[in-house]
């Protein structure tokens, strides 16, 4: 057997978390270093996996299978393809950066980092699981640490952190309840049809794609509710701004950066892949909701005065593009959807980490209380502006090409509706530049003269995520060749059904 690379990637943070249990709680530097090493191992290995994946071969690679519950056809099945590898890499880029963004945590650091590591591992698990049961297992695992972390290390602003934590958790649990019903029904139907229970994505999909149009439609509807609320599809988005605002920096980074993307990932790799006829029935509605989310949340962001709320609404807006892209159901659109999730993840994580530092140093996130920080903390300002520019889709940074491909895919399929979505780039520019200008530029305030710029470990998020922003912007094929190698076969598998379309 080959070196089990995916398993190692998955276990490294868990091992680190176990080690932390035995580290004395006063030794905060040791605690942070262990966490950093654990995530670094995962990051290095996932980079290795990313660049050794054979794109010309395509398909599932680095696979490992351990039969588990045979009556239900459940296997512990880890594998990666061109869609999951970028998401895995994204998780690790953000996870590694999140450790350093939390470098100044002094309140119970040991517990904090244990939970953070478990969270990272859980998110990774969803992206490399190739079995629906295992996928759901990881998916539910990630909800618990988030709740605890928000309640203990969060911050209360417009809403209390308890409210934020509750809202975040319950909202997502209700969403996943719909998903669970859908998955169980799907399992019952497919195993009855084939006679052999099989929970693996591909095994299930082969059968599920044969389901009648009606079955596919209502099953897809349930999944859309579940995955849709996770990716903050309008109007199931309202957990997102409050949740991010209440959460500690690292949780905001991971939640907005990758956890949310499980929704989009699930839509593409589970819902669309298994239920193409259902997808083509729901696609126009998804497109409308996606565009509504883009415009609505962009306007919402414009009205915010708390930095975290600005980015919170903006992430809802950006996810609207992902939903619109999935709704295109063509190769360009699906490529754009996955790529935009990656791009937005990097951008949002950088944004939240910079805002986290600002909050840590100034003790405020209220934009009118700030101004002129660029003079006092220039490096922080650079990171902030890079994230801001990526957010408004500046060419040369990572978000532009994914957005461009989405626009091409959507313009082709939805025409005028897509134009409304594309108009979002104007509003985005407006709120992002306004937030940046009012925070960083203008006359410096004397009360912030003593602030120390980010340095040492605090620089890691800027260096890691900033590099990815720029490299991905100038060499988009590094990302797109990989995604394309996963999207093309997926599209080929469903294109016959798609052409028939879903009808009630």
């Amino acid at each position: 057997m080959d070196f089990p690379i995916l398993l190692t990637i998955l276990l490294a943070p868990i091992v680190a978390a176990l080690v932390l249990v035995f580290v004395p709680k006063e030794e905060s530097l040791t605690i942070k270093s262990v966490a950093a090493v654990g995530t670094f191992v995962s990051l290095a290995l996932s980079l290795y996996a990313y660049f050794t994946y054979d794109q010309s071969l395509g398909g599932l690679q680095f696979a490992m299978q351990i039969p588990w519950i045979q009556d239900l056809g459940v296997t512990f099945f880890l594998a990666a393809d061109g869609i999951s590898l970028p998401m895995l890499l994204l998780t690790n880029l953000i996870g590694f950066s999140a450790i350093f963004a939390s470098w100044n945590i002094n309140n119970r650091p040991r517990e904090f980092f244990i939970l953070l590591l478990l969270l990272i591992a859980g998110v990774m698990g969803t992206f490399i699981a190739h079995d629906l049961f295992i996928f759901l297992l990881f998916y539910e695992v990630v909800v618990i640490p988030i709740y605890i972390m928000v309640v203990i290390w969060g911050s209360s602003k417009r809403v209390t952190k308890e409210y934020a934590a509750m809202k975040l958790t319950i909202y997502l649990l209700i969403g996943s309840a719909f998903l669970l019903v859908g998955v169980i029904a799907l399992f019952v139907k497919t195993s009855a049809m084939s006679g052999v229970p099989d929970m693996s994505f591909t095994g299930m999909a082969v059968v599920a794609q044969q389901l009648s149009g009606f079955d596919q439609i209502w099953l897809f509807g349930l999944m859309l509710l579940g995955f849709g609320s996770l990716i903050s599809m309008w109007p199931f988005h309202s957990w997102s701004p409050d949740g991010y605002a209440g959460a500690p920096t690292a949780v905001s980074m991971i939640h907005a950066g990758v956890l949310k993307k499980i929704g989009g990932y699930g839509l593409v790799k589970i819902a669309v892949f298994m239920l193409p006829a259902g997808a083509s029935f729901w696609a126009p509605y998804m497109a409308v909701l996606g565009v509504a989310g883009v415009a609505y949340a962009a306007m919402g962001a414009l009205a915010q005065k708390d930095l975290k709320y600005v980015v919170g609404y903006s992430s809802v807006s950006h996810m609207g593009y992902v939903i619109l892209a999935v709704a295109c159901l063509n190769v360009i659109g699906l490529n754009g959807a996955v790529a935009n999730m990656f791009a937005h993840g990097v951008m949002a994580a950088l944004f939240f980490s910079m805002i986290g530092f600002i909050y840590e140093k100034t003790h405020t996130r209220w934009i009118p209380d700030m101004g002129g920080l660029a003079r006092q903390t220039p490096r922080l300002a650079v990171g902030f502006m890079m994230a801001a520019m990526a957010s408004l889709g500046l060419p040369g940074l990572i978000s532009f090409v994914p957005e461009f491909t989405i626009f091409i895919g959507a313009f082709d399929v939805y025409g005028g509706l897509a134009v409304v979505g594309i108009a979002g780039i104007i509003i985005t520019a407006l709120y992002v530049l306004r937030a940046g200008a009012n925070t960083l530029f203008g006359p410096p305030r004397p009360e912030y003269d003593h602030l120390k710029d980010i340095r040492g470990p605090e620089m890691v998020p800027l260096i890691v995520l900033g590099t990815v922003l720029v490299v991905g912007g100038f060499l988009p094929s590094l990302l797109f060749d990989m995604i394309n190698s996963g999207v093309v076969p997926l599209h080929a598998a469903i294109s016959d059904v798609l052409q028939l379309g879903g009808k009630l």
Partner: protein
């Protein structure tokens, strides 16, 4: 050998300043002199390569027909023929137009960079300034040599980013911050149109490579209808409206002078604003097919030229006057393109680059000497103390006014003739009248600033050599840059044209008219602002036309209108959306929560865990049954209690 190398490695031209940006940012930021040397040196080297490449292009007539293109795949999605697919290439396209631009941009940038060494001396952000300048130059050069419209768009936006950074360079100033934001957002609105146009082009024709697009659009009937093509052309044109400061998106350009003066020179002369004109020139194959789009371009250009000139008449700040003159001159260029003369449009861009860079840098020299006092009414007689600055500015003034043999005359004449030849008499009249206004307001400024009485409170001094050398070099250009395009021997038109080179008869009438208009404009300015030392007539005129004067001085209140639109309409709507989100969407979510909680509270009464309560409920049940039995008889009782009798 060198020429060959330069032609095949033209990508070095943008790459060198881009590298300079990286080196300054990451390595040499603490060492100011070194940073400046790297920035100026890399741009100068880029200029040398560009000159060799341009020499190669301009010695071989093949390239006017068939451009030199080399490209690499940048992004490839899907499988062509099997699924929907997208292929984007990036590369270099060299032909006379891009070679001319590449040389012009790098040449003028080099001298603006050199000038900045003196101008920015002692500024705490000295190195950062040079890194931004380098990135600016690199982006513009990338735009110029692009072989693909998406590549061009990327560079286009990077140019916008650099202008944002440089306009807002004095980050502590609120005015700079707002001006930078305004520039970015205004251009963004325009880029939205351009982006839609590009998407439509990609979807309709399946490529964004300039050469392929040119061929396919020539036979556009195979792909789409004329209506769709018109729409595409209009959408594409919205981009240049923003970038090149055409009405109604010109508002950002005058504010852009909030940046350091070399930036203004760079934005107004060599980079940024000419990008829009260049884009229209580059996509001439698209506009050429659509008559109505051409007219839109021409009318927008002519109107902007006149409109901006009227505003410039009343402005007081030296850089603001120059800024509106830029808007006006860009209008001329658009007009030329709109009447179908790529030759005239590019020619005016070429000459304008020299005299406008010259005038901005000279204005910077004045500001430098007067410690950033900007009001022309507070200056006077500067030419005695600052002879180089003064006389070079005069040369620029003669060039922009259109006095032969200075550069501006030839290119403006070319535009007027082309407009007339196409039969656009109204546009011709507008352009001719603008020429008169231009001469007037420019010389109003020159007489006020450099001639007349010296003001005792000013203590001007001539600027250092790094600032005056660029002035002299650019002044040479402002004199001679037009001689290659005289009507008697028009070398320019041999090389730079769309379709067929144009050889019209020499129009002496138009030439005479434009000289007369320019001369009378200057003479009027002379009588009002120099001869009349008290400026009585000027004041009286302003009083007589009070409302008009106020409207012009306030730029037709367009900025106020936009500000109102932005604050009242956009922000108001945003506020509404947010309230809707808080109270309706979130209210619904919280409502579910409250409902769940209150139903839980309600049901909790039945689950208190106290025996007494359970006994009470039990007792009430028995009582209810007893009542039932008493009033309805045994049959109902048996229904409730089953078989119990």
């Amino acid at each position: 050998m060198l020429v060959e190398f330069a032609m095949m490695h033209a990508w070095l031209v943008p790459l060198l300043p881009a590298l300079a940006f990286l080196v300054i940012v990451f390595l040499t930021r603490p060492f100011e002199k070194l940073s400046a040397i790297i920035a100026v040196g890399s741009m100068a080297l880029a200029c040398v390569i560009a000159s060799f490449a341009a020499y190669g292009i301009f010695t071989n007539h093949e390239f006017t027909e068939k451009p030199l293109v080399y490209a690499a795949n940048w992004l490839s999605l899907g499988i062509p023929g099997v699924t929907d697919s997208l292929l984007v290439q990036v590369g270099v396209q060299l032909d006379p137009v891009s070679a001319m631009m590449m040389f012009m941009v790098s040449f003028i940038s080099t001298f603006i960079f050199l000038y900045s060494v003196g101008y920015m001396k002692g500024d705490p952000g000295f190195s950062v300034f040079f890194s931004y300048l380098s990135l600016f130059g690199a982006s513009m050069l990338l735009l110029v040599i692009s072989s693909n419209l998406l590549q061009m768009f990327i560079a286009w936006e990077l140019v916008g980013l650099c202008s944002y950074l440089l306009i807002g360079f004095y980050t502590h100033k609120i005015s700079a911050r707002e001006a930078a934001k305004k520039a970015f957002v205004t251009c963004r609105v325009a880029d939205f149109g351009l982006l839609l146009g590009l998407l439509a082009l990609q979807i309709t024709f399946g490529t964004l490579n300039l050469v392929e697009l040119g061929e396919k659009i020539h036979n556009f009937q195979e792909y789409t209808t004329i209506g769709m093509l018109t729409l595409i052309a209009v959408l594409v044109f919205i981009g240049p409206i923003g970038k090149s400061g055409q009405f109604p998106l010109h508002v950002w350009l005058p504010d852009a002078m909030e940046g350091p003066t070399p930036v203004s020179a760079l934005i107004h002369a060599a980079t940024m604003v000419v990008a829009g004109v260049y884009l229209v020139g580059r996509t001439m194959f698209l506009f050429h097919e659509v008559e109505s789009a051409m007219q839109l371009v021409a009318v927008t250009g002519a109107f902007t030229a006149l409109f901006a000139a009227t505003i410039a008449l009343t402005q007081r700040e030296i850089k603001r006057i120059l800024a509106y003159s830029t808007v006006s001159q860009l209008g001329y260029m658009m007009l030329a393109l709109g009447v179908g003369s790529l030759t005239a449009g590019m020619f005016h861009m070429w000459t304008h680059a020299f005299f406008k860079a010259l005038m901005f840098l000279a204005a910077g020299s004045v500001l430098y000497a007067l410690h950033h006092k900007a009001d022309v009414w507070e200056m006077g007689g500067l030419i005695k103390k600052m002879p180089i600055t003064g006389w070079t500015f005069v040369i620029g003034g003669l060039a922009i006014a259109g006095i032969p043999p200075f550069a501006g005359f030839w290119s403006k004449d070319e535009i007027l003739v082309a407009t007339l030849a196409e039969g656009h008499y109204v546009l011709f009249a507008m352009a001719a009248f603008t020429a008169f206004l231009t001469a007037f307001y420019m010389w109003r400024m020159i007489f006020l600033v450099f001639f007349g009485d010296e003001k005792p409170e000013n203590h001007p001094q001539e600027s250092p050599w790094t600032m005056t050398v660029p002035l002299i070099v650019l002044a040479v250009g402002a004199i001679g840059a037009g001689w290659m395009g005289t009507p008697w021997n028009n070398v320019w038109a041999e090389w730079i044209y769309f379709g067929e080179p144009h050889h019209g008869p020499i129009n002496y009438g138009a030439m005479l008219l434009s000289i007369v208009l320019a001369g009378s404009g200057i003479y009027l300015a002379y009588t009002m602002y120099l001869k009349d030392t008290k400026k009585k007539r000027a004041r009286k005129l302003a009083e007589w036309f009070g409302p008009v004067h106020r409207m012009l001085y306030n730029k037709y209140y367009i900025d106020e209108l936009y500000l109102w639109f932005n604050h009242a309409l956009v922000d108001g709507t945003a506020r509404l959306f947010y309230l809707f989100d808080l109270y309706v969407v979130d209210g619904f979510v919280n409502g579910i929560g409250t409902f769940t909680k209150s139903s839980g509270d309600g049901l909790r009464v039945f689950q208190t865990g106290r025996l007494q309560n359970y006994a009470l409920i039990f007792f009430l049940g028995v009582l209810a049954v007893a009542v039932l039995v008493t009033f309805t008889g045994p049959s109902a009782a048996s229904l409730v209690l089953g078989g119990v009798k």
